[in-house]
Subunit: 469 residues, 2 copies
């Protein structure tokens, strides 16, 4: 069966090259149930592998069809082999989190081959404390990072005694709801906005690595309007260089209660506190490397759109995001002042965003989804400074403890997509009282990435002290 | 630096697709030296990784160059990252040979991406008996299976106390000798034979998945000549079907002394005994699946060429092979009769081979190296039966115990290339008194591949009994 690929998915496929694989990842840590034997991880792997039927999303692969003049299409893989996609892996000794992050970085560095369905899952044993890890990898042409996490959450349960639960790629009753964006869905969701031309343009844009038409005009307007969501005041930093295809990954979580207390004491949101943590950590990291610019760094922060703004987003919620350019206040020495600067910048950005037209929001959203095609566009416009310095996302997750066939989910950490000119990506997600940070960077462009974890930890304490939380 | 790719290497690159990755592999088992600590495998991995300089062969990757009208060229990888190529892996519990073979099969199933140099090495811990494994994978466009094994042997030593030994991919004094075929070398070696046309034809051939010109004429002659090395009497078997890209690998070794005693008692060569073992094992395997054809199976057996025949081979010996089509006698119930049939067929085949002209030998050699391009050629000629049923190679290795920085090499096992229509490949290599068998098969087309190991073992005993060894 051959089906057309929608323009956004095609853009992700075409923007991919050796230096910027376009897949998102997720790391999950599980605690085996009481009484689990030595063979538990193998059993878990076998349950993941031995699904009765695989959902269509996980069976299709992209192909250039000769019949449609070289256009990309989805085609079902007639040689589908689940053992290629679901794998049982192990960590070398001593089996610390360090070895796990190293393996995840390595797995995340390899492109998914177009000749097979664009996903992989690794059930990983060998953590010395007995926890079990799962790393999953899905091409952005199939799902965005948010949808990927939701897909995995959708097979979990709050009931520790429930068994017989399916793998995320197994076919199930709810599949119709969490299914991939089909062309029909995309067309319906875009129908309210007269942006068919834009949609077509996006397809062409990706081919040419630029975005013409309505989007250019939107961008030009943004360039000339300081109050808009698009900042062009980002300094040059070491993150804004060409990258290689190798990745390093670091992850850790902090109690949301601590972050909330900081927000409460300072009048900031939880998201502001997350951004201020990143700001302080990046400031320390760059200072240590003698590479902190005078001007504050700018983060692109995807934000969820409210009902009034979201008529351009798809029904399943996966794409209902805009982006705010947040000045991080990295020029300020005082943690409380940095937090105040972040809070102000986010407030301004969200107000600017809410006054945008649907077409502008759609354009912003497209930029947020396909940052890879922004830098070439800016070069086309004669703009050589980076539009922002890094991407920081914060995706809310479930608040309660979840289980998969009795195994307790302890934490989850997203792996994102660094791109040329944006070598560092920080994505956070909340779960069961903790905020999990996932830092994905180019191995060469962002040295000693793991130091940022220590700096984040220091920054939480510094913020607590500064605001009296 | 951009250099042209010689036609044979280009053929291997172009013959590659999702179902038939064109890389060879090797599995080595080591015994850590006395007093090795828990961290030994990590140290070994770090020694393998932290080479001072990497040899040119391991730095180049293939690229279609626009400047040369889409022709393939080698280009140095300017983003070379040794950590992508040299990896530290571990086995899941219980860490038996079974888990090791499973991992090797999985690693061997993935294509090497053209965007990086075409090799990988995995230092593997987690075998429960404390042995350390190394799996290496190299594209056939860089080296053939024989050269790949020699490359690894070239860094080993017979001195258990020697230290400071380089990794196989490290630059070293002897690099000039064991270096990749450069275009200059190829041209010099082919100079004696007036086959420049053939060389060009081979390049075109690979593009069109057929072999025109001189090669077709050679083949046509062979088709009409029963005494030639090319057999067209192979029956259809389950091995001669389309394959998928997934592999399964099985390996084991037997004392050469036992095989030699069988040869001595029956007047057969060691290679004849190896072929008879395979014959008996395959016969039992097919009988169990109720799939044994009436006519005997035919194996393509690459053979080394003697001085008189080898003026077409390259200087480093990697390509100095022809091929004999050996009737395996799988129709005969008695092991001794099968061995006699194999011995007769090999003797006839080698005589036919030795009377071939240099161009014919070159053609045979090209077929042996690039079996992937033979079946389409035969279809082009209206021949639909398989030219042979499986490939069985036997490559002599070192006779004495070798070490790498004190780690004793216990055994080595080749992983080969199944192709469409040839789903099973058996490659053997001798080392330190043992004959190591490596069986590589398509996971789907050759079910229960590992059963062949038991059948091989049974066959050794049956041969011993039958010939009174």
């Amino acid at each position: 069966m051959v089906t057309p690929i929608d323009p956004t998915s095609a853009a992700f496929l075409l923007a991919e090259n050796r230096s910027q694989p376009m897949h998102v990842g997720g790391l999950q840590l599980f605690q085996p149930p009481e009484g689990a034997g030595r063979d538990y991880v193998r059993q878990m792997f076998e349950q993941m592998r031995d699904v009765e039927a695989v959902a269509p999303l996980f069976l299709k692969h992209p192909k250039r069809s000769l019949r449609t003049a070289g256009q990309l299409v989805w085609e079902d893989d007639d040689q589908f082999d689940i053992e290629h996609h679901v794998r049982h892996s192990a960590l070398p000794r001593p089996g610390r989190i360090r070895e796990l992050l190293e393996l995840c970085g390595r797995l995340h560095s390899t492109r998914l081959a177009w000749e097979r369905p664009l996903w992989e899952a690794h059930v990983i044993e060998g953590l010395r404390d007995g926890r079990v890890a799962m790393y999953t990898k899905t091409h952005h042409a199939l799902v965005d990072g948010i949808s990927a996490m939701r897909l995995i959450q959708s097979v979990l349960s709050t009931d520790p005694d429930k068994r017989g639960m399916p793998a995320p790629w197994g076919m199930r009753a709810s599949a119709a709801r969490s299914r991939e964006r089909s062309p029909a869905v995309t067309e319906r969701d875009l129908a309210e906005v007269s942006v068919h031309a834009l949609q077509t343009a996006l397809g062409i844009a990706a081919e040419a690595a630029g975005l013409p038409g309505a989007l250019i005009r939107t961008l030009n307007r943004s360039v000339r309007n300081e109050t808009s969501a698009l900042s062009l005041y980002a300094p040059r930093t070491m993150f804004n260089r060409s990258i290689t295809g190798s990745r390093r990954f670091a992850a850790q979580d902090w109690p949301i209660e601590r972050l909330r207390a900081i927000g409460k004491a300072s009048g900031a949101t939880l998201n502001d506190v997350v951004l201020a943590m990143c700001s302080g950590a990046v400031r320390t990291y760059l200072t240590e490397l003698d590479a902190l610019p005078d001007a504050p760094l700018v983060a692109m922060v995807p934000v969820g759109l409210h009902a009034r703004q979201s008529h351009v987003a798809s029904a399943d919620g996966g794409n209902a995001v805009g982006a705010v350019m947040c000045k991080l206040g990295t020029d300020l020495a005082d943690p409380a002042e940095r937090l105040a600067a972040v809070h102000r910048s986010m407030k301004d950005g969200k107000e600017a965003l809410s006054s945008m037209t649907p077409v502008q929001i759609m354009a912003m959203s497209a930029l947020g989804q396909a940052p890879a095609i922004l830098p070439p566009l800016l070069r086309m416009q004669g703009i050589v400074k980076p539009p922002y310095n890094l991407i920081i996302s914060n995706v809310p997750g479930p608040r309660t403890t979840h289980y998969w066939n009795g195994a307790r989910l302890l934490g989850q950490y997203p792996l994102s997509i660094p791109i040329n000119g944006m070598a560092l990506n920080i994505t956070c997600t909340s779960y069961d009282g903790n905020m999990g940070f996932g830092l994905t960077g180019c191995r060469r462009t962002v040295p000693h990435l793991q130091r940022l974890l220590g700096h984040l930890d220091t920054e939480v304490a510094a913020l607590e002290k500064a605001v009296g939380a």
